[in-house]
Amino acid sequence: MKRGRSGICLDVQGVGKAFGSTRVLQGLQLMIPPGEFVAVVGRSGCGKSTLLRLISGLDQPSEGKILLDNQPVTGVHADVRMMFQEARLLPWQRVIDNVQIGIKSESRISAEEVLQLVGLADRAAEWPRVLSGGQRQRVALARALAGEPRLLLLDEPLGALDALTRIEMQQLIEELWLEQKFSAILVTHDVSEAVTLADRVIVLEKGRVALDLPISLPRPRARDHGFAHFERVILDKVMARGTEGVAIVKQRAYSYSV
C-alpha cells in the first residue's frame, strides 16, 4: 500500500464531558504527536470510551476543545477512522462490499488490496454471518484501513475475541501501524495489551490523566522483566492502591491476562 500520509497531531485541551449531572471527564489535557501509538487504560466508567467518541466527533465536549492538526473537531473527520468492540459489519453486504464502505472516492487503494493486508482476500464474497468473531474484526480493521486514515481509534476491539485470536490481531495491528505510520489510540481494559502495542500508556482516573507512561521497550515486545515492570506500574495505578495491606492481597488475586 502506497504511503504518502503521516499521522495526525492530536491536542486535547482542558476537555470535560458531563452527561446530565454525571461528570465523566474534566480538565483533560493530552498531546499526541503524529504517528504515535497511545493506549488508554482505566477502570470501567473512567471515561476512556467517551474520550474516544469526543475525538472521533460522534459527541461534543461540554468544555474545552480538541484539535486535530490544529483544526478544531467539528463532527466526523475524513482522516479519522474507528474500530468498535463489535465488528459492526453490515450483515446485508458481502465482505468486500463492507470493506468498500471504508474506501474514499479519491483513494488509490482497492478493497481487494486491503483485504489482502488482513489475510482475508479469499473470503471477499462471503456474507458476514459465516465468519468467526476474529475474522469479522479483521474485516472491520480492513474497512478502517481502507480509508488510509491518519488517526485510527480503537475502542476495545479485541475484548470479545479469544486469547489466541487476540494475540494474532495485536500482531497484525502493530505490523500495519509500523508500515503505515498513522497515529493510533487504543482504549483497552487489558494492561498487557496496552504494554504490548503502545509507545505510551495513559491511565484515566476521575476524568483526568492520572499517569502518562512512555514504554521504552524495543519492538516487537517480549514478555520479559521490563515488560512485567511496566505492567505492574500501570496496574498499580489503575487499581489506585499504594501500600495498604488489604489492597496488596487483592492485587495478587488479579491475574494478568494473556
Binding site: 475524513a78 474507528m82 450483515p91 474514499k104
Partner: protein
Amino acid sequence: MIALRASFKKLSAKTLIPWSIPLLFILCWQLFGLSPTPVQVLAASVQLIESGELAEYIGVSARRAAIGFAVGGSIGFLLGLGNGLFPIAEKLLDTPVQMIRTIPHLALIPLVIFWFGIGETGKLFLVALGVLFPVYVNTFHGIRTVDPGLIEMGRVYGLRGAKLFWKVIFPGALPSILVGVRYALGVMWISLIVAETIASDSGIGYMATNAREFMQMDVVLLSILLYALLGKLSDVIARLLERRCLRWHPGYND
C-alpha cells in the same frame, strides 16, 4: 437410470409433501360423497373455464386486490418511513393513524357503500385501508429498531442522509417491512372477499353470489377454493421476495 429415478423421487417428495394433507382430505371427501363432491366442483370449473368466464372473474378479483394492495401498501410504507425517520412526523401523524387503525375496517362497509356506492372505488378503498396498517406498523417498527451501532458506524465512515438511508437504515428495516407485507397480503384477500360479497357485478365474489342465488353449491365451493389458492399464491410470492431480499439473514437460511 438410477440417478434419474433418485432425483425424480427427491423432487416428488419435496413438492408433494406440503400438499399431502389437502390431497388426502379431498380424497376422503370424494369417498364419503359429501355433496358437492370434488368431482362435481371440477366439472363446474371445467364448464366455466370453457366459457372463458372463470378467467375473467379471477382476473377482475386479482386486479382489485393488486391495485388495493399497491395503494394501501404505498401509503402505509411512506407513512411508516416518514414517522420512523422524523420524530416530528411521528408526533403529528401517529395518533390519528392509530385511532383509525383500531376501527375494524370491515365494519365501515355500510359507510363505504353510502360514500362510494357499490362500484370499484368502495372495494378498492376497503382493501387499501386493510393493507395500510400492517405495512405502516411494521415499516415504522423496522426503521426504529435498526441497530444503532450500525448507524453510528455509518456516521463514522462518512455515510449521511440518503446514503445512510439506502445503505444502513432501509436494509436494516427490510425484514420487518416484509413481515408487514406478508400480513397485509392476508388482510388484502379477506377485505376483497367481504367487499365482493356485499355488492358486486364482476369477480369471484359475483360468481359466488350468483351461484348462491341459483343454489349452485359446486360453484360456491369453487369460489372458496379459488380464494384459498390465490391466497396461497400470494404467500408463495411473498416467500420468494423474502428469500431474494433476505439472503444475508441468518434466520432466513437453512
